[in-house]
Amino acid sequence: MRKTVVLLAATAFATLISGGAFAQTLVYCSEGSPEGFDPGPFTAGTTFDATRPVYDRLVVFEPGTTDVGEGLGLAESWEISEDGLTYTFHLKPGVEFHSTNYFTPTRTLNADDVIFSFMRQSDQSSPWYQYTSGISWEYYNAMSMPDLVESIEKVDDLTVAFHLTRPEAPFLANMGMDFASIVSKEYADQLEAAGNMVQFNQLPIGTGPFQFVAYQPDATIRYGRFDGYWGTPAGVQSLIFSITVDASVRAQKLIAGECDIMAYPNPADIAMLEANANILLETQEGLNVGFLAYNTQQAPFDNAQVRTALNLAINKEAILEAVYQGFGQAAVNPIPPTMWSYNTAITDWEYNPTEARAMLEAAGVTNLTMNVWAMPVSRPYNPNARRMAELIQADFAAIGVTVNIVSYEWGEYLARSQEVDRDGAVLLGWNGDNGDPDNFLAVLLGCDAVGGANRAQWCNEEFDALVQQAKVVSNQDERAALYMQAQEIFHAEAPWAPIAHSLAVMPVRSNVQGYVMNPFAIHEFATVTVE
């Protein structure tokens, strides 16, 4: 009898404990499986969502902004040399790496870890450069780091100096990106010695607020609060990513309380979620732009007057309503309004089919037939390209322009739209990487990007000179002035019809507190608590 009572009490206690643990658990319904757990080789936001809980970076953006905040990351402070060629970072002392059942660190973070984190992506003689076959460091390359970083010097155990080949103002913002996450050299050495380097991408070790617990592909990722974290401890004991590919199913699970936060709701489900008393909708202006890029090297789109006329014919309000379901704002400039240096003095091309038709006639263009390319996939900056193309088709028909809508398989679409002799105008867009205007203006409209990400094939020397100049100036006010001028040239030349900046929506249950939306569309949960 006594044994039974003890057993019952133990069971009741276990139930209470497990109930408590559930309350300390945050379940996030994510949209897909991560590609891996090493943030270096990957480029997808879904992957960075999964690596963010585990890793820190030298530099961190102020929560909810695109501004680099000093002392928020692993670097306590930094100095930039007067010539802009050396960035010296001072590391926080006593930062611990995660201790798990697959790795026990014997030391805290030091300069060796920082140097290893970057050199593995650039030093082709390092075994870590190709630690699993077919690996490539796409972000490191895309941010021009191999050309930019001349060397990385260990000044002392807690001081690292990056020597650059040229001044590069966006460098600091680059250090806040996920490819710049700081990994453990000691862990890497241990795996290398064991001949099991591929584990680096499967069982991660970092210094972040959560430590990795388990991953079941296409089902769950589990993290536990890291009690040795150097910063403010995470608000929940455990964090679970419940991978749910279908957006409508995610919404149903949120309503049913199976998850506390969900990613990327279907625009069509938002009204239903909004009507639920237990769900709040957090919104944030997205760091993105959806656009229609004319091929400025092909007639008649090589004429700025023709491009402007077409821009005047697009009814953006109708597109915002039909394609973005109200969760977007009309784009005026190629960068989003939340970004510093956004030129508020520029006003949008006002929808005016009559003027558009007259301007087209004045340019000597009649009976124009053109292709508009519609992406075959949904992206945050353009949830329904086919619908958008149909609306543009109707708008252009109103000014006597016949539009044929074309589309290709996504990989082919991306490849063909890059070609300099491509026809017509292409619907595409961009999500910002690091909050720096250079990441939009140079990447998407620079002369170097013609035949690549510059789908307008637009090389304007004056514009390009301003953007290049802004890259090497370290004073942000001076840079902003240069970017504002560049935006004026963009508006006068109209290589694109900028369509919209989508609004990011994050439905959370009302028992969730402290969630801060990230403008880079990365989902972070360290500050979140669950009541």
């Binding site: 590609e35 077919g134 490539s136 079941q216 199913v249 690549g452």
Partner: protein
């Protein structure tokens, strides 16, 4: 028996090589370039493109790529996923237990219901049960899996709320994976409610994936039983006054089972195709979604590897059926 096995195994070798050719060529015949898909909106410069193509080995002659691949296969290397950077086998074995569990329950469901239904329908030939069972079997066989799955989800998960919408178990349960079968691991864990939750998650996917095999098995059992029930030895057994249960259950069923076992074997092999669709509907974390994703992203090593592994599994199941067939009917193995 040994000769029988050797002859079957000898057939597997050329089949395997044939499959490697098909699996190797299939993703390459699809439009779309994995390197460009990897680059996304950013695009790649021609130089970087060349670098990546070289790194992945896509710039070598196709024959060399193929021979290199087959050489790797013979050494157990199925390549590395372009997307996840993990060995293909690592990703496969992370996901396969879920597919295996679902397939096991689906075929068990089909057998447990299909064989008795077929027997009863044959014994009561022309009865209301026979007509209803065979009618339902025909509908089940003709039902598109995707539509059938969605219908059940809408009714039982959406409208009635009786079954979970997706997944293998509520994410709040957590225990070590010992066998890879969620139901068994849940039992081993001893966590209250975990086993029943895992079973609840299995109900609809099992029914959906098991429907077609159930229909086929029931119809096959019925027709095999009808044929056997008309044989002289069954009549003799009846004439001797053996109880009907014994006549049907021992004398008739044993012989009727021979074609049924073949059918079960073939259906088990075909389950892989159905599993891909079923997993998609129920977000079941098996190899189905993995394979579909790899096709979308033109992840050549994964497409090749998964097709070959699935083909190997089907071949092994067929071999097993051949062996079982031989065991049930000794005449087969003597001829083999």
């Amino acid at each position: 028996m040994l000769r029988f096995l050797v002859s079957r195994l000898a057939l597997i070798v050329p089949t395997f090589f044939g499959i490697t050719v098909v699996a190797f060529l299939f993703p390459r015949l699809l439009r779309g370039d994995p390197v460009l898909l990897l680059a996304g909106e950013r695009g790649v410069t021609p130089e970087r493109y060349e670098q990546l193509v070289h790194q992945f080995g896509f710039d070598r002659p196709l024959v060399i790529q193929y021979l290199d691949y087959v050489w790797g296969l013979l050494g157990g290397d199925f390549g590395t996923s372009i997307a996840t950077k993990n060995p293909v086998l690592y990703d496969f074995f992370s996901l396969f237990p879920a597919t295996l569990e679902l397939s096991f329950f689906a075929i068990a469901f089909a057998i447990i219901i299909g064989i008795p239904a077929g027997i009863i329908a044959a014994v009561r030939r022309g009865s209301l049960f026979d007509q209803a069972a065979m009618g339902v079997a025909l509908v089940g066989y003709s039902m598109p899996i995707f539509w059938w799955g969605l219908l059940l989800v809408v009714v039982f998960s959406g409208m009635l709320g009786w079954t979970p919408i997706d997944g293998r178990i509520n994410v709040r349960y957590f225990f070590d994976s010992v066998t890879g079968f969620m139901t068994i691991d849940a039992l081993i864990s001893g966590q209250r409610g975990a086993f029943s939750d895992a079973v609840r998650h299995l109900i609809l996917p099992t029914i959906v994936l098991g429907t077609i095999p159930l229909a086929v098995i029931a119809r096959q059992t019925r027709s095999a039983m009808l044929e056997v029930l008309g044989e002289d030895y069954v009549r003799t057994a009846r004439a001797k006054g053996l109880p009907p249960r014994r006549v049907i259950g021992i004398h008739a069923l044993r012989n009727a089972l021979i074609p049924v076992v073949t059918t079960i074997g073939l259906q088990t092999g075909l389950l892989m195709g159905g599993a891909i669709l079923t997993e998609h509907v129920f977000s079941w974390p098996g190899i189905g979604k993995w394979l579909l994703d790899s096709i979308s992203s033109r992840d050549y090593p994964v497409v090749q590897g998964s097709l070959i592994i699935i083909a190997l599994i089907v071949m092994l199941v067929n071999l097993l059926v051949d062996v079982l067939y031989g065991l049930i009917n000794p005449g087969i193995r003597h001829r083999g």
